[in-house]
């Protein structure tokens, strides 16, 4: 893979939060690459650091977060080192974030119109659109996300809209900015399954027609299979397996990935899966070695103290696991 072919490269990103004097190491050396024009998946349990990664890309982490090390290269430039003006430009034209919870992503006391037009104005700052032009663009974007009666929506306040409508408004706001990279943080998860499905299909269509690059964050492998060409499996703040979506699904190599797939309900299955025993570790006292070690059925002695490196499984598929390295992991 050549560097200039990648729109985004995250290298060894570590992020911690400080809550009441306790430092929690949420992201530990995250590596993630998005080739131009591709949809890349990021999958993992709730609380494993997916949202933190997305926010770090745009430099909008909560005020108690601290980026400890790493690089986030957007078209070869490190976002973390950008001066304010360049960072603003990156946010305006480079990447846009779709939030997980549409009900909290819209300002409750300000009309949709004001929110939409303000963010649109800055997204197209260089083009000097008039407010009438901006308004037309907003209406167009609302139409594009299949919202009926966009003019009424523009004059509404968020609480007057349904959850699905709010999510569509958020997507429209992000897409109308015509950015190069779309960060979709579990879009629709907070909504009904049917609406969630609609939203996903909508994003997929838009990505295909607009030729965007996407990071699709989700905890659902089904979504990954439908939407992405590459996948990264995240566990407790680190990426444990990654590569071509087909290859990863064909030959899952990390015990965690295997366990995740076992959790998928299958039509031919014998009932509801048992889930993965144990839970994500405390980030204030993470295990010294592999973070999955306490829950892992294949755990070796060295897993306790050593952090596994990358092992190539296939041409476009890698895993970070000692057991897999030694060929001791065999999918059921």
């Amino acid at each position: 893979m050549e560097t200039n072919n990648n729109i985004l490269e995250i290298k060894d990103l570590s992020v911690s939060y400080t809550v009441a004097n306790v430092v929690t190491h949420v992201l530990e050396k995250v590596n993630l690459t998005v080739p131009k024009g591709k949809s890349v998946g990021l999958v993992g349990e709730s609380g494993c650091g997916k949202t933190t990664t997305m926010r770090a890309i745009l430099g909008v982490l909560p005020s108690n977060a601290n980026i400890e090390s790493g690089e986030i290269l957007f078209n070869g430039t490190d976002v973390l080192k950008m001066p304010y003006n360049q960072l603003q430009e990156f946010r305006q034209t480079g990447a846009g974030l779709i939030f997980q919870d549409p009900s909290s992503a819209l300002n409750p006391v300000i009309s949709i119109k004001k929110q939409f037009l303000t963010s649109l104005k800055y997204a197209h700052k260089d083009k000097n659109y008039s407010s009438a032009q901006l308004y037309d663009k907003a209406i167009e974007a609302l139409n594009a996300v299949s919202l009926a009666d966009p003019k009424r929506i523009m004059n509404s306040f968020p609480f007057q809209l349904s959850g699905g409508m709010r999510q569509r408004v958020c997507i429209a706001m992000t897409l109308a900015g015509e950015k190069e990279l779309l960060l979709a943080d579990e879009p629709g998860t907070a909504l009904d399954v049917t609406i969630q499905d609609q939203i996903l299909r909508l994003i997929k269509n838009l990505v295909e027609t607009l030729d965007l690059s996407v990071i699709m964050v989700t905890h659902s492998l089904g979504v990954i299979r439908q939407v992405t060409t590459e996948v990264n499996v995240m566990y407790a703040g680190s990426i444990v397996e990654g590569g071509d979506t087909h290859q990863v699904f064909e030959h899952p190599s990390h015990p965690y990935t295997i366990a995740l797939m076992d959790c998928l309900p299958k039509l031919t299955g014998t009932g509801i899966s048992e889930g993965i025993p144990g839970r994500i570790p405390d980030y204030d006292h993470p295990p010294a070695g592999c973070r999955f070690y306490p829950r892992c059925t294949y755990a070796l002695d060295r897993c306790k103290s050593e952090v596994p490196g990358k092992t190539i499984v296939e041409d476009d598929h890698w895993v970070a696991c000692f057991a897999a390295e030694e060929g001791k992991v065999c999918p059921k």
Partner: protein, 340 residues
């Protein structure tokens, strides 16, 4: 339309509350120990005169009937005679109210903007010296009772750095101001007397400060807290992530949702100024309704006490209705919420 409907609902429930308040106050008046006729007419009044007084004032009727008589008089603005000033209570109130209104307006409205300003500055410079200073003063001022402020001001600004007129009152004796609005500073300016206006301002400044400093810092603190809390909300992250400059985000998207909780608190604080004014007016010899009420309380002048408490209750309820309206204008969600 919704706005109008919720205001009407609010008014209706306020009337119920005020009626309830009259019952409480009336009960309080009846609980004053001693014969009301004796209290009103003095120890030397002969029994026939007392009996006549009781008859005229319906004191021989059962208590609920008395309440009815009292209420129908009160609604018409007749609160009886003050046993202390020997004048109609309603006349006393008319004479003393403007001074209190002037004081409360000055202690209520300008500090509101100061509080918002300090809160915003404090939040924007979190953990830098403007924030530390605001918070430090905030802790001290919030912990200081208003009467302590008043006493300390007299000592510091009345005697040690004599900038404040120590005799108190509203105006130095060499000035006379033709009454127009009843508020001296305004009236002096209307009458073209800048020196008198300045004098009135100096008289007003310290009582107003004593009344408002604690509340102001409290409100600044709430504004700061809600600014900081909202700064990490998704809807702020959303616009920031779209590349809207920080200044615009703060001004257009952060300030409004952060100010709404403060406005509600401010309204209640404004209304409670009438209460705290009781001692401040007395300490500064401010000839207002509250010092009149305080004298009435200390002299067990029940007609006057009841009238003052009721008037203040009215002002309190009126203010909270205004606050609700402001909050509804600011916060579209409240227009729909059930108001109680």
């Amino acid at each position: 339309m919704l706005l109008f409907k919720s205001i009407m609902k609010r008014l209706a429930s306020s009337i119920v509350v005020l009626l309830g308040l009259t019952i409480v106050i009336f009960a309080l008046m009846k609980a004053v120990p001693g014969d009301p006729a004796r209290l009103a007419l003095g120890p030397n009044a002969p029994e026939e005169v007392l009996e006549h007084y009781r008859e005229v004032n319906h004191l021989n009727e059962p208590i609920p009937v008395q309440y009815f008589y009292w209420l129908s008089n009160a609604v018409q603005g007749d609160f009886g005679t003050s046993s202390y000033t020997q004048r109609a209570v309603s006349q006393d109130i008319k004479d003393f109210a403007p001074a209190t209104i002037e004081l409360v307006i000055w202690a209520g409205i300008p500090p509101l903007f100061v509080a918002l300003f300090l809160g915003v500055i404090s939040a924007q410079h979190k953990n830098k010296w403007p924030d530390y200073l605001t918070r430090f003063l905030g802790y001290i001022f919030v912990a200081t009772p208003t009467f302590v402020f008043a006493v300390l001001f007299i000592l510091i600004f009345g005697y040690w750095l004599p900038v404040m007129p120590t005799i108190g009152g509203r105006l130095s004796p060499q000035f006379t101001i033709a009454p127009v609005t009843g508020m001296y500073i305004v009236d002096a300016l209307i009458g073209g007397q800048p020196a008198a206006a300045w004098d009135a301002f100096l008289h007003l400044l310290f009582p107003a400060l004593a009344l408002s400093l604690g509340k102001t810092m409290q409100e600044a603190r709430i504004t700061r807290a809600s600014m900081l809390q909202n700064a990490d909300k998704d809807y702020i992250t959303m616009v920031t992530s779209q590349g809207v400059p920080k200044k615009i985000v703060n001004r257009r998207f952060l300030l409004k949702p952060s100010v709404i909780p403060t406005v509600t608190v401010m309204g209640m604080d404004f209304a409670s100024l009438f209460g705290n004014a009781f001692l401040v007016e007395r300490i500064f010899n401010w000839p207002g309704l509250s010092s009149y009420g305080m004298n009435a309380i200390l002299n067990k002048d029940s007609n006057a006490v009841v009238a003052v408490v009721l008037i203040i209750g009215l002002a309190f309820v009126g203010t909270s209705i205004v606050v609700d309206i402001v909050a509804m204008i600011l916060d579209p969600r409240m227009r729909q919420a059930r108001t109680r």
